[in-house]
């Protein structure tokens, strides 16, 4: 085995640039992904300078923490189920049925993915809070409280159902409709066809979407912080409060580990069990065919559900925009620009900082993602699986855990980074690179390797091949990697909140502060600014990529 490893390294060493690059990437993943996690784990076992399991025992004994765990798990489970149900219906309607306005519905449904973390929470407060439009002004309720289990679930479903939708859309689009046709042809009813063919075939995809939403929900910080309320503790905000409120680092670390375990378990199941069980029935022929297994009334019922969700999304955004221009929501609906003046006056530094962090981390993350995908798919080297695992590991690690890990790891020698731009950029790069890597790997696996071999054969070394051939060919993955990195850098909160400083502050943290002090109008204005920047940035990235690959007609973006 070591003989193989040696010969693999020898082969790689013929391309020294690539070998150096690989070493740098492997080292950075070890330092910026794995090392912080190790630090969190060690801190959880190290209470008052003694190695002990007391931290965990205390957690198990105190009801607050037990409740936090149970609450987080049950919210994640319920949000997973509801999101997958909505996502499945939306994916089915929008990929398989002939209905009007599909493109518009698609974009509205995925809109929440690009929005800052508090949009849904603030909308819900605007609509259903103590001074909410619906609860107070329309229904005249005085004692209704949105805080707690139901508030968090509603807000998270709104935030994460689009993720389930996107992932199930891929699953349903890759199921050949001829399978349904075949079932109908040999005498199955529509109902039987759905339950005996379509549903079982999409089951691994459903489970996978559920687990992804579960992971996201467990890790979610913004919605619980705003909507959980004091009576309903949840893990991620609790860990944050232990550290910022009680300065109890080891308790925070212990909670972080407890938070990490279910997420990692879900990730492991999703990646190593379900991923191998996806049924993809690619025939090479166009599979875009309308499903015949839905009767007309059923079709319009499903369409109604999807439209209703889209209307809700639109309403939530409308409320945010109106709220941003409204004096005091619930009392005085006079239009005003005061909130935006505040954003561009008091908040201007955070706008600038956020933009700098996003602009610096996006290209690094995008190129790193494609490079790792290229190395993992096209090169053989010892530890390849470990590199792939390490590089996508951070997808499953809740931001709270990463944030605590970074302050533990980079607050003391040998690497001191706290309070710098670098710590934010590094955190964002390694946290959000997995999506680029995954889509890079997926696209690259479909590209004939001989195209890259041809480049080598004509005299290109590894890096030139990557730059001149691979990267242009995987431009769609590069695009989605860049967009994802930028959007996340603009909207991240859970890890970032531990890493911001007086010098480097972020808009999302500002939104949180405004929500905390009850100034919902200002937080709405901040959210609008974030959304506008994100949309402009997507436009610019797509323009640049299109220009760069303008000869390419094969490589097109969806």
């Amino acid at each position: 085995m070591s003989g193989t490893a040696r010969s693999q390294l020898r082969l790689l060493a013929r391309d020294p640039v690539l070998l150096v690059l690989l070493t740098v990437i492997a080292l950075s993943i070890a330092v910026f992904v794995v090392y912080p996690l190790v630090k969190v784990f060690m801190a959880s076992l190290h209470v008052n300078d003694v190695w002990t399991l007391d931290g965990y025992r205390e957690l198990a004994e105190r009801r607050l923490y037990r409740n936090a765990l149970v609450n987080s798990l049950s919210v994640a489970a319920l949000v997973g189920i509801i999101s997958v149900a909505i996502g499945y219906v939306a994916a089915f309607v929008l990929t398989r049925l002939e209905v009007p306005g599909k493109t518009l519905l698609h974009y509205i449904t995925i809109l929440p993915i690009v929005s800052p973390p508090f949009v849904s929470a603030v909308s819900i407060l605007f609509l259903f809070g103590f001074n909410g439009l619906v609860t107070r002004q329309l229904l005249g309720l005085n004692d209704f409280s949105i805080y707690g289990f139901h508030g968090v679930v509603i807000s998270q479903v709104f935030t994460f159902a689009p993720i389930a939708y996107l992932s199930l859309r891929g699953v349903l689009a890759s199921l050949s409709p001829t399978l349904e046709d075949a079932a109908l042809n040999i005498g199955a009813t529509r109902w039987q066809t759905f339950w005996k063919v379509t549903f079982p075939l999409s089951l691994p995809g459903i489970a996978s979407a559920f687990l992804v939403v579960f992971i996201e929900s467990m890790a979610d910080f913004g919605n619980p912080l705003v909507l959980a309320g004091a009576a309903f503790p949840m893990l991620a905000p609790q860990a944050y409060l232990e550290i910022t409120g009680s300065f109890n680092l080891s308790r925070g670390a212990t909670l972080a580990i407890v938070l990490l375990i279910p997420s990692m378990t879900a990730f492991a199941i999703q990646r190593y069990y379900l991923a191998k069980r996806q049924y993809i029935t690619v025939t090479g022929k166009p599979t875009a065919s309308t499903s015949k297994i839905v009767s007309n009334p059923m079709k319009w019922l499903l369409y109604g559900i999807v439209s209703f969700f889209a209307v809700l999304v639109t309403a939530f955004y409308a409320v945010i925009i109106v709220g941003a221009f409204t004096q005091v929501w619930g009392f005085n609906y006079t239009p005003t620009l005061a909130h935006f003046r505040y954003v561009f006056d008091v908040g201007l530094d955070s706008v600038k900082d956020t933009l700098i962090v996003a602009i610096v981390s996006t290209p690094i993350s995008g190129i790193l993602g494609m490079l790792v995908a290229f190395l993992v798919v096209r090169r053989v080297f010892p530890g390849r699986t470990a590199l792939e695992f390490g590089s996508i590991l951070s997808f499953a690690v809740p931001g709270t855990v990463v944030g605590i890990g970074y302050i533990l790891a980079f607050n003391a020698p040998p690497i001191i980074l706290t309070g710098t731009l670098a710590i934010l950029v590094l955190c964002f790069v390694f946290r959000y690179v997995p999506v680029g890597i995954q889509s890079g790997i997926a696209v690259l696996r479909q590209i004939d390797p001989s195209i890259e071999e041809a480049a080598q054969n004509l005299g290109a070394n590894g890096l030139t091949t990557f730059r001149k051939v691979t990267l242009p060919l995987i431009a769609p993955a590069f695009f989605s990697g860049l967009v994802y990195a930028f959007v996340r850098a603009m909207t991240a909160i859970s890890a970032a909140i531990f890493l911001v400083s007086a010098n480097w502050n972020l808009m999302t943290v500002q939104i949180l502060n405004q929500v905390g002090s009850g100034r919902l109008g200002v937080s709405a204005a901040f959210s609008v600014v974030v959304i506008v920047i994100v949309l402009i940035a997507i436009g610019i990235i797509s323009f640049l990529i299109n220009r760069w690959t303008r000869h390419t007609s094969m490589v097109r973006f969806q």
């Binding site: 071999e453 041809a454 054969n457 000869h551 094969m554």
Partner: protein
């Protein structure tokens, strides 16, 4: 300048996913003269593509040596070997237009702009692609894409040209046309070429020499005529063209006996009388008539293919033989079930010991 290629005791062992290993290329020795076109021919999985990829540098030999001229190439990375390869899937860069595809390698050499322009234009003319320079590859037919792949290689003036089943994705007519063009171009440029194919007709028509491979081993090396007329073993006989392999016995000097019938043949291995041998009878070297011949049989199947008629004849005591009759439209067809007489042309019989 073009190079000769020398392969000495070359082996390739792949670790197989299940644990063990696959010995894809076994102890191969080959000498390929400068300027020659040599074909590696064999069924799929015979190791021919692995051998080609080792020459290109995409695979590393497990043991043995590879020389271009006097230079040992084992450790040389693919991008500095100065080979140029035409891939089965063309591997035309989809994001570059035809001109840029062909200019790709020249640009990596940092040649002056004007020189690149001149070279690319000349090669596009040579390959019949003038006027397509600004086209994107997906606006081209398969044949045109293959020309781009070829142009991209010869513009580099490589020491060695490599072809990996370059015509297998083209339709039959185009395939014939392209192999003539490739052969003419190769002879004009005089570049040492190695051509992998599983199509024996393609191999016969294009090669100076053919290397027949099976299970990682060279079965025979020779000119097309040698291999067809004197196959080294049953596998080669059967793989190149069609063959009736018939049990025979040595009857004396230059004489064999098949089922009691004595036939004089040109070459017989040095074996004692009575030794059992195999006689290779090519279907086109058997004469068929309604009466009077050395063997008698019943026609079991007739296929009219236009230029020939292909018969399956059950020969008394000798099993089924394939017989091809040329110009059948004029000769007339025997119907299935009719009795026929067969007379192998003695000069074409090849004996395997």
């Amino acid at each position: 300048m073009t190079d000769s290629i020398r392969i000495v005791g070359l082996n390739k062992v792949f670790p197989s996913p299940g644990g063990g290993s696959v010995h894809a290329v076994k102890d191969i020795n080959l000498d390929i003269g400068a300027g020659k076109l040599v074909t590696l021919l064999g069924p799929s999985g015979c190791g021919k593509t692995t051998l080609l990829r080792m020459i290109a540098g995409f695979e590393e030999p497990s043991s043995g040596d590879l020389f271009f001229g006097e230079r040992r190439m084992n450790e040389e990375p693919p991008n500095t070997r100065d080979t140029a390869m035409v891939f089965q899937s063309y591997a035309v860069f989809p994001h570059l237009n035809v001109f840029e595809n062909v200019a790709f390698g020249l640009r990596l050499r940092h040649l002056p702009k004007a020189e690149i322009e001149a070279k690319v234009t000349r090669v596009l003319e040579q390959t019949g692609l003038e006027g397509y320079a600004k086209r994107s590859p997906n606006q081209l037919s398969g044949g045109q894409q293959q020309r781009v792949a070829l142009a991209r290689c010869i513009v580099m003036e490589p020491k060695v040209l490599l072809f990996d089943e370059p015509l297998s994705n083209l339709d039959a007519k185009l395939r014939e046309q392209m192999r003539v063009e490739i052969r003419e171009l190769q002879q004009r440029l005089g570049i040492t070429s190695i051509y992998v194919t599983h199509d024996q007709v393609e191999a016969m028509s294009i090669s100076d020499e053919i290397v027949i491979m099976k299970s990682g081993v060279v079965e025979q090396l020779g000119t097309p005529q040698e291999i067809y007329a004197r196959p080294a073993n049953r596998f080669v006989a059967d793989f190149i063209g069609k063959a009736n392999i018939v049990e025979a016995r040595i009857a004396g000097k230059n004489t064999i006996e098949i089922n009691g019938v004595s036939i004089g043949v040109p070459l017989v291995p040095e074996l004692p009388a009575g030794a059992e041998v195999s006689a290779i009878l090519r279907p086109e070297a058997i004469h068929l008539s309604a009466e009077g011949g050395q063997f008698r049989g019943i026609v079991r199947r007739v296929m009219f293919l236009g230029n020939i008629a292909e018969y399956l004849v059950e020969v008394d005591g000798l099993g089924n033989w394939l017989v091809d009759i040329s110009n059948p439209a004029e000769a007339g067809l025997f119907q299935a079930g009719s009795q026929v007489f067969l007379e192998p042309s003695a000069g074409s019989i090849h004996i395997l010991g």
